[in-house]
Every structure is written in structure tokens, then in C-alpha cells.
């Protein structure tokens, strides 16, 4: 109470606040000032945000595309079936016994036996070659086992299973068209790698754009920095407004990037749905989602902060009072 009274008497108030409170206060002030300065130059700010937004939107959009593609691919993989064409000499009973032994394996979900006569009828109706087949004296088809692999069996395990089955003496030939799945998987992996590579380049571009923006901001406020250093402002005090400028520009760029991705998504979703409908797929497209928007915004913020820190380290130290 005494301190307060004497402070009021001199009209000069209390001394500096505890370090932490002062630090928090200055952070809030620097954050607000930086934002205000950016809003006072809307065109320049918008250009920076658009540049950063595009740099973030392109990799994000490609990533989204890939996520959708791999989701479609994984749904395609599941119903893969192996057809085992058995040896010509094996009897239907032998085929059934063989089917029973296979059905006990963990990587096989179900095995059904298709009699050679049924197979011929199916083949005839499927192909419409009825009359031609009726002219045949013998049924050229063997008994066939239809093997459904377990759901969790991946492409590689499927190939291994096919190899194993092909090696059995009862089996004449294994028909498994996994090559296109392997191709799809490999293509997706390749494109993913490309997306990561180009994404890294785009993000590097965003960092350079932001770092340059901060450098210009530092140059524009050179006098202010000199005065601040002359009258006892530390590096932290001088640096803070620019770090916030970077943070805001990054967050703004990230948000704008998310908006661009959403726009792009709406733009392509109609033709993409028609394409899916052509394949009789009930697959629904995955958008960026709230989590994606938040993630992109945070990433923008991190990039902004990083760029600002780089620019500040490089340029602020060089500005010293002379």
C-alpha cells in the first residue's frame, strides 16, 4: 500500500513489471502491431498470401488426390480371387478333398469347387460361344477351384500364395491377375514420391517468398530498429514484430491454401463422381476436412515462423547503430 501511495505521489507509477508479465504483454503488442501493419497494406499482403497459398495448395491438393486414389485402390484389392485350374486327370472327388485341405489355411477365406461341366456352361453363357462348344467332343476345361484369399492378405502375400498353389502337383495353372494391382500400387507410390518431392520444393519456395517479405519489412523499418537498439531494446524486442509478421503471413497463406484446395475439390468433384459411377463404385470422395484445413494452416504458420526466423537472423544483426 505504501509503495502504491508513494508511486501515486510522484505520479510516475510502479517500476517495470515482473519479467514474464512484461514479456507476455510485449508479445501481445507485437502480434497486434504486426497484424495491423499488414492490414494497412492490403494489396502487398494479399499478394504474399496468394503466393504462399498457392505454394501450399498444390502439394496439399495432390496429396488429397493420392489419398483418394489409394483408398479406391485398397477397395479394389480386397475381392481378388485365384482360379486354380486342376490337372486334367484329377477327379472331382480329388478336387473336393484338395479344396478341403486348402480351406484350413489361414490366408484363405473360402474355397469352392467348380465342376468342369459347370465351368463349360458358364464359359458358354459368358462368351456366347454356345454352338461352337456344342460341336466339341470333349470338355476341354478341367475342374476348377475358386480360392478367395483372407481379407488381410496383401499383394505380396497373394503372390506367394499363388506361387505355393502353382507348385502343388494337383494344380495345372494358377490364374491370378495381380499385375495390374501391383502396377497401381507402384504407380501410386511413385506419384506419392513425386508429390513429396515437388511439395518440398513448393514449400521451399514459400519459405523464400516469406523470407523475402520479411527482409523487405526489416529494410523498411531500419531506422526504427536502429533507434530501438540505441535506447536499449534487445534483439528479442527488435525481432518479435518480424517473427509475428512471418507467423501471420504463414497462417494467412495456409488458410488461403486450404480455401484453394476446397475450391479445386469442388471444381473436380463432379467429373470425378461421374468417373466413379462409370466403374459402379459407391466410393465417396474424401475432402480436406476440418482437420486438413487446421493442419494446412498450422503448417503455414510454422513455415512463416521459420522464414521470419531465417530472415531476421540474416538481416537484423547487420543493422546496428553507428
Amino acid at each position: 500500500m505504501n509503495t502504491k501511495l508513494s508511486a501515486q505521489k510522484t505520479g510516475l507509477g510502479l517500476g517495470p513489471r515482473p519479467q514474464l508479465a512484461a514479456w507476455v504483454h510485449h508479445h501481445r503488442q507485437a502480434a497486434a502491431d504486426s497484424l495491423q501493419k499488414m492490414l494497412m497494406e492490403p494489396i502487398a499482403t494479399l499478394l504474399t498470401l496468394v503466393a504462399v497459398g498457392i505454394a501450399l495448395a498444390l502439394p496439399a491438393a495432390l496429396w488429397l488426390l493420392l489419398d483418394n486414389a489409394s483408398a479406391v485402390a485398397s477397395r479394389v484389392e480386397a475381392p481378388t480371387r485365384l482360379s486354380l485350374l486342376l490337372d486334367d486327370d484329377s477327379s472331382f472327388e480329388a478336387a473336393e478333398r484338395f479344396a478341403d485341405t486348402l480351406a484350413t489355411r489361414v490366408d484363405i477365406a473360402a474355397v469352392s469347387v467348380l465342376h468342369r461341366d459347370e465351368a463349360l456352361v458358364l464359359f458358354a453363357t459368358d462368351t456366347g460361344l454356345d454352338s461352337l462348344l456344342q460341336g466339341l467332343q470333349d470338355n476341354p476345361l478341367p475342374h476348377t477351384l475358386l480360392v478367395t484369399p483372407a481379407v488381410d492378405v496383401g499383394t505380396e502375400q497373394l503372390e506367394a500364395l499363388a506361387d505355393f498353389l502353382g507348385g502343388r502337383p494337383e494344380v495345372d495353372e494358377v490364374v491370378l491377375d495381380t499385375r495390374w494391382i501391383a502396377r497401381l500400387d507402384t504407380t501410386i507410390a511413385l506419384v506419392r514420391q513425386l508429390v513429396v518431392g515437388t511439395g518440398a520444393l513448393m514449400i521451399l519456395g514459400a519459405i523464400l517468398i516469406l523470407a523475402n517479405t520479411i527482409r523487405l519489412a526489416i529494410e523498411a523499418r531500419r531506422d526504427e530498429i536502429v533507434v530501438i537498439k540505441l535506447i536499449g531494446g534487445g534483439d528479442g524486442f527488435a525481432r518479435r514484430p518480424f517473427l509475428y509478421t512471418g507467423l501471420w503471413a504463414g497462417i494467412g497463406g495456409g488458410l488461403l491454401g486450404a480455401l484453394l484446395v476446397l475450391g479445386l475439390f469442388l471444381f473436380v468433384s463432379a467429373p470425378a463422381r461421374s468417373l466413379l459411377a462409370l466403374y459402379d463404385s459407391d466410393f465417396t470422395l474424401q475432402g480436406l476436412g476440418l482437420v486438413g484445413v487446421i493442419r494446412l494452416t498450422l503448417m503455414g504458420g510454422a513455415i512463416g515462423l521459420l522464414s521470419a526466423a531465417q530472415a531476421v537472423t540474416l538481416h537484423l544483426r547487420r543493422i546496428e547503430p553507428r
Partner: protein, 221 residues
């Protein structure tokens, strides 16, 4: 309060200060004079740690300032109020914000800042101009804003480098009496000035430098 002990400052081609030894007591007001190039600026720059002495010891508030590291410079400078010949005001903000800057650096609360800025502006007679832009003020008013900024954090030492350099005699006298007023409440004041006519009327110690050497006013009082 301020003690130079055999201080030398050598630049590449010349000695700016040679073998300076003197003491300025707490609460004293001294003038630092000499022709341009005599070493006045170097004297102040060493005190502000804009330069480091080549040899000798410079003690401020009982501390050997060669021990102040790069990171400690900002905090060290806050012990001073500094008035510049060209004011060094920021023209993109108001008089109030200019004067508030040292308090913001030191982390005062908004309420204390308001009170102190008003008190400082009142002392220099510019309370009614707190919202003005510095660029629209006269030279004398700008210098008074600079003085308000220098004293707003109530430093124990006030340094001024040619504070009346660009002002007419009457304004110069007014500025000097402002410094004397601060000195009367206990602030140690060091003013570099070449305006001999003005400072010799003021009856304070005059430290005279010539070619980097101390030629007068080295003794106390």
C-alpha cells in the same frame, strides 16, 4: 558514477581518445567540449558501448563496462537516457508512442506508461501535443520530444550529443535549462556541445578535449 581510467580509443589511422582519466560524480552536470574531431563523440560512444575502448578501464555505476557482453548491451543502455543531435524520433508514430518506446522496451504496464509519458511530456511542455506526428513539430519541439523520451524511464544518467546543435540561441538556452532541471532532481548529466558561449554561462564543469586528449576540466568540480 562514471570513471575513465587511462582510456585510449584507437581507430585504424588515428587515436580518437588518448589516455583519458577523469571522474564524473553522481548528480553532477558536466559539459564536454572541443572542436569537431576532438573526441567528444567517441567519448559518448564509448559510454553507450557503441564502441569499445582500445585500452584502459571505463567504469559506470561501479561496473567495468568492458565486462558487458554483446547480449548485455541492451540492458546496459537502459541505464541511460540519451538525447541525440538529430533527435532519432520515429516519424511513423505519434509523439506519445515515441516517448513510450523506452517504457515498452523495459516492460512497463500500459497504465504506468500512460502516467509516465504524460509526466515526461508535461516536464518538456508538450503535454498538449501527445497525438501530434513528430514530423509536423518544430526543431525545438522535436528535440524536447527526444528529451522526454530520454527521461521517461527515469535514468540515473542522461547523455546528450549536441542537443542544441540545430537550434537558435533562445531555444538552446531553454533546452539547457531543461537539462539543469533534471540535474537538480539528482540525474547525472553529460552534454557534449561546442557552443562555448552558451555553456560557459551555465557554471558547470566543462571537460575540454583536443586531439583526443583531455586539456581541461579533468579535475573534480
Amino acid at each position: 558514477m562514471i570513471e575513465f581510467d587511462r582510456v585510449n580509443k584507437r581507430f585504424e589511422h588515428h587515436d580518437a581518445l588518448r589516455d583519458i582519466s577523469l571522474t564524473i560524480d553522481a548528480g553532477e552536470m558536466v559539459f564536454l567540449t572541443g572542436h569537431s574531431g576532438a573526441g567528444k563523440s567517441t567519448f559518448l560512444r564509448l559510454l553507450m558501448l557503441l564502441e569499445r575502448a582500445s585500452s584502459g578501464t571505463l567504469t559506470v555505476n561501479g561496473r567495468d563496462i568492458s565486462k558487458v557482453g554483446r547480449r548485455g548491451i541492451a540492458r546496459y543502455r537502459r541505464e541511460f537516457g540519451i538525447v541525440f543531435q538529430d533527435h532519432q524520433l520515429l516519424f511513423d508514430r505519434s509523439v506519445y508512442d515515441n516517448v513510450a518506446l523506452p517504457l515498452e522496451i523495459s516492460g512497463f504496464s500500459q497504465r504506468d506508461i500512460e502516467r509516465r509519458v504524460r509526466a515526461a511530456l508535461d516536464k518538456v511542455g508538450l503535454l498538449d501535443r501527445e497525438n501530434a506526428q513528430p514530423a509536423l513539430l518544430s526543431g525545438g519541439e522535436q528535440q524536447r520530444v527526444g528529451i522526454a523520451r530520454a527521461v521517461v524511464a527515469r535514468p540515473k544518467i542522461l547523455l546528450a550529443d549536441e542537443p542544441t546543435g540545430n537550434l537558435d540561441p533562445q531555444l538552446s538556452a531553454e533546452i539547457m535549462s531543461l537539462f539543469e532541471a533534471f540535474n537538480r532532481v539528482g540525474v547525472t548529466v553529460v552534454i557534449a556541445s561546442h557552443d562555448l558561449a552558451l555553456i560557459s554561462r551555465l557554471r558547470h564543469r566543462i571537460i575540454t578535449l583536443k586531439g583526443g586528449r583531455l586539456v581541461g576540466g579533468g579535475g573534480q568540480g
